[in-house]
C-alpha cells in the first residue's frame, strides 16, 4: 500500500511538473466551456422566443435544455482526451529503462498497475473538479435539479477511469507513446461503433452490443439515474483491463 502511494505521488509530481496535466486540463476546460456557452446562448434564444407563449414557459427546463445537452456533447471529447493523459505511464518506463528499476524493486506488478491507475484517476478528478465551474454557473443563476448534475459527474468519472485503464493497457504494450494513444483511440472508436451498430442487428444481439458500448452506459447517468448495470459495467471494464495490463507486465515479452 505504501509503495502504491509512493508511485501515485511520483506520477502526480511528473504530471504537474511537466506541462502535460495543465495542457490537458486547459484544453478540456476550453472545449467544454465553448460547448457550454453555445448551448446556453441557444437556450437564451429559445427562452426569449417562448416569452411570447407564456403557456410554454414550464417547458423551459435547465436540466433538459442546458445540462443534458452539455454532458451529452462533452462526454465524447472527454473520453478521447484521457488516453493522452495515460499514454506515457508504462511505455516510458520501457523506453527509458526505468522499468528495470521498478521491476527489480520489491514491488509487485499489481502494485505498479494500481499506482499508475490511481494517479491517472486523480488527475481526472482534478480535471472534472475544474470543469464544475460551468454547472456551478447554472446553480448560481438558475434553479436546476441538482441530482442529475452529480450523477452525470459520477458517470464522467467512471467513464474517464475506464478510458484511463484502457489507455494504461495500451501503454503497457508498446514503448512508443504515439502508438499507445492511437491504439487506445482505436479501441474506443470500436466500442463506440458497436453501440451504433446495436440498432441495426436485431434485438438480442443488439442488446449485447449495446451493453458493451462504453458510452451507452453514460446516458442514464446524465439523466440523473444511477443504474447498477452501468456501475457494474465500468467497474468490471476497469478491473478487466487492469488485470490484462498486469498480465502483460508479468509476461517476459515486456522485458
Amino acid at each position: 500500500m505504501k509503495k502504491i502511494q509512493a508511485l501515485v505521488t511520483k506520477e502526480l509530481g511528473s504530471y504537474f511538473i511537466s506541462p502535460v496535466a495543465y495542457v490537458i486540463i486547459f484544453i478540456f476546460l476550453g472545449v467544454s466551456g465553448f460547448l457550454f456557452f453555445q448551448i446556453l446562448s441557444y437556450f437564451n434564444l429559445q427562452s426569449i422566443q417562448m416569452m411570447r407563449y407564456p403557456g410554454l414557459l414550464d417547458r423551459l427546463n435547465l436540466n433538459d435544455m442546458v445540462l443534458f445537452p452539455f454532458f451529452h456533447n462533452v462526454v465524447v471529447f472527454f473520453t478521447f482526451l484521457i488516453p493522452v493523459l495515460t499514454m506515457r505511464l508504462l511505455s516510458e518506463e520501457k523506453k527509458l529503462g526505468t522499468g528495470e528499476l521498478l521491476f527489480t524493486s520489491p514491488i509487485t506488478t499489481t502494485e505498479v498497475v494500481l499506482g499508475k491507475f490511481f494517479a491517472a484517476a486523480a488527475v481526472i478528478l482534478v480535471m472534472l473538479l475544474f470543469s464544475f465551474v460551468y454547472p456551478l454557473m447554472i446553480l448560481i443563476f438558475g434553479n436546476p435539479d441538482v441530482g442529475p448534475i452529480f450523477t452525470a459527474y459520477l458517470g464522467l468519472f467512471l467513464l474517464g477511469s475506464a478510458a484511463a485503464s484502457l489507455g494504461i493497457l495500451m501503454s503497457s504494450l508498446t514503448e512508443n507513446q504515439v502508438i499507445a494513444v492511437i491504439s487506445a483511440w482505436g479501441v474506443l472508436i470500436f466500442l463506440l461503433i458497436i453501440g451504433w451498430a446495436a440498432q441495426s442487428v436485431g434485438p438480442t444481439f443488439g442488446a449485447v452490443l449495446q451493453h458493451l458500448s462504453i458510452l451507452e452506459h453514460f446516458q442514464s447517468f446524465s439523466k440523473g439515474i444511477i443504474e447498477l448495470k452501468g456501475v457494474v459495467f465500468y467497474l468490471s471494464f476497469i478491473f478487466f483491463t487492469l488485470f490484462l495490463t498486469q498480465r502483460v507486465l508479468d509476461s517476459q515479452s515486456w522485458r
Binding site: 508511485l7 511528473s14 528495470e100 528499476l101 527489480t104
Partner: protein
C-alpha cells in the same frame, strides 16, 4: 551468497547465456569480465529478477529468484547498464521515491537519502533536474539509488561506463570502500578495472564461462593459455575433478555435444601439462579416448577486452 546453476537464456535463436554456473560467497567482490555481447547484462538481469531464465536456477541471498522474487529484490541493490533515472525528477525526490519503493522506514528516509548522496557526491546537485545532469552525475545517481537501504548484495552492470577518468577513479574507490560488508558482483569489459577492484574474476564469452580465477593471475592466464579437447569413457564429476587438479589447468568444462567430452583450458607452458592431463585420466581409470589441442580461446577473449584504460574515446580525454 549467490549461487547459479546451469543458467540458460535464449532470445529466439540467440543463446545469450549458455549453461552458466558459478558461486559467490558472502563478502566477495567478483568481477564479471567479458567483451560486449558476452551475456553479462543478461545474467545480471536474471539474478535481479528482471527477466526469467529459459532454464536453470539462481539463488540469491538464500532465496530462489524464480520462487521468491520479492525476497531477493529486498536484498539487492542493482545498477543497470543504463541508469534507471526519471529525467523529469529532481535528484533528492527521486532518491526519496526509490527509498520508498525499497521499503526504507519513513523516519529514516531523509537520513538515508542524505547518506547515499554524500557517498556518491551528489549533495551539490540534489535540487537539480536529473534530465539536466551530465552523464557522470546520472551514473552516480544510478549508483546512489542502488545503495539505498544498504542492501547486502550489490549488482553493478558496468558501473564506470561513460565516466571521465577522474570520476572513474572516484567510483572505483567508492566500490572498494563498500566491499567490507557487501557481496558485490560487477561487470566490465575493461581488464584493469576488474584487476583493481575485484578479488576474483569470472570470464564470460559468447554466453559461456570460459575461466574463473583469482585476479592476481588474470593477465598471465589470459595471455598464455591453451585449450585441449579430451574425451573419456567414464565421464562424471570425478573425472572432471581429477583433470582440474592437474597443476597448470585453469578450467574444465563439459563439452555439450560430445558425451564424455571436456574443454580444458591450461597454461601455455609446453607439453608437460598435456602429459599430466593424459596421465591423470589414465591413472584415474576414466578411459582416455581422445586428447587434442584446439585453439586458444582465452587469448581470443583477451584481444576483445579493453586492456588499456582510456582506449575507449568515450571515457578518455577530458579531465575536469
Amino acid at each position: 551468497m549467490i549461487e547459479v546453476e546451469n543458467l540458460t537464456k535464449r532470445y529466439g535463436n540467440i543463446l545469450a547465456v549458455d549453461r552458466v554456473s558459478f558461486r559467490i560467497e558472502s563478502g566477495e567482490i567478483v568481477g564479471f569480465l567479458g567483451p560486449n555481447g558476452a551475456g553479462k547484462t543478461t545474467t545480471m538481469r536474471i539474478l535481479t529478477g528482471f527477466i526469467p531464465p529459459t532454464t536453470g536456477r539462481a539463488i540469491v541471498a538464500d532465496f530462489d529468484v524464480m520462487e521468491k522474487p520479492l525476497e531477493v529484490k529486498r536484498r539487492i541493490g542493482y545498477l543497470p547498464e543504463h541508469p534507471p533515472v526519471y529525467n523529469d525528477m529532481l535528484v533528492s525526490p527521486y532518491l526519496d521515491f526509490v527509498a520508498r519503493l525499497k521499503e526504507v522506514d519513513s523516519r529514516e528516509r531523509p537520513q538515508e537519502v542524505r547518506r547515499v548522496m554524500d557517498l556518491c557526491g551528489l549533495t551539490e546537485v540534489q535540487n537539480r533536474l536529473i534530465g539536466n545532469l551530465s552523464r557522470g552525475f546520472r551514473q552516480r545517481v544510478g549508483l546512489a539509488q542502488a545503495l539505498l537501504g544498504d542492501p547486502e548484495i550489490l549488482v553493478l552492470d558496468e558501473p564506470t561506463i561513460g565516466l571521465d577518468p577522474r570520476q572513474i577513479v572516484e567510483i572505483r574507490e567508492l566500490i572498494k570502500n563498500l566491499r567490507a560488508d557487501h557481496t558485490i558482483i560487477l561487470s566490465s569489459h575493461i581488464l584493469p578495472e576488474v584487476e583493481m577492484i575485484c578479488s576474483r574474476v569470472i570470464i564470460i564469452h559468447e554466453g559461456k564461462i570460459v575461466a574463473e580465477d583469482q585476479t592476481a593471475h588474470l593477465q598471465s592466464t589470459l595471455r598464455n593459455s591453451d585449450r585441449l579437447f579430451v574425451q573419456v569413457g567414464q565421464a562424471g564429476p570425478e573425472a572432471l575433478e581429477s583433470i582440474r587438479r592437474v597443476p597448470g589447468v585453469i578450467s574444465v568444462l563439459p563439452e555439450e555435444k560430445v558425451p564424455g567430452g571436456y574443454r580444458v583450458e591450461l597454461e601455455r607452458e609446453g607439453q608437460k601439462i598435456r602429459e599430466d592431463v593424459a596421465r591423470a585420466i589414465v591413472t584415474g581409470g576414466f578411459g582416455l579416448r581422445e586428447l587434442k589441442p584446439v585453439g586458444m580461446s582465452l587469448e581470443e577473449v583477451f584481444v576483445q577486452l579493453t586492456t588499456v584504460e582510456g582506449a575507449n574515446p568515450e571515457e578518455g580525454g577530458k579531465i575536469s
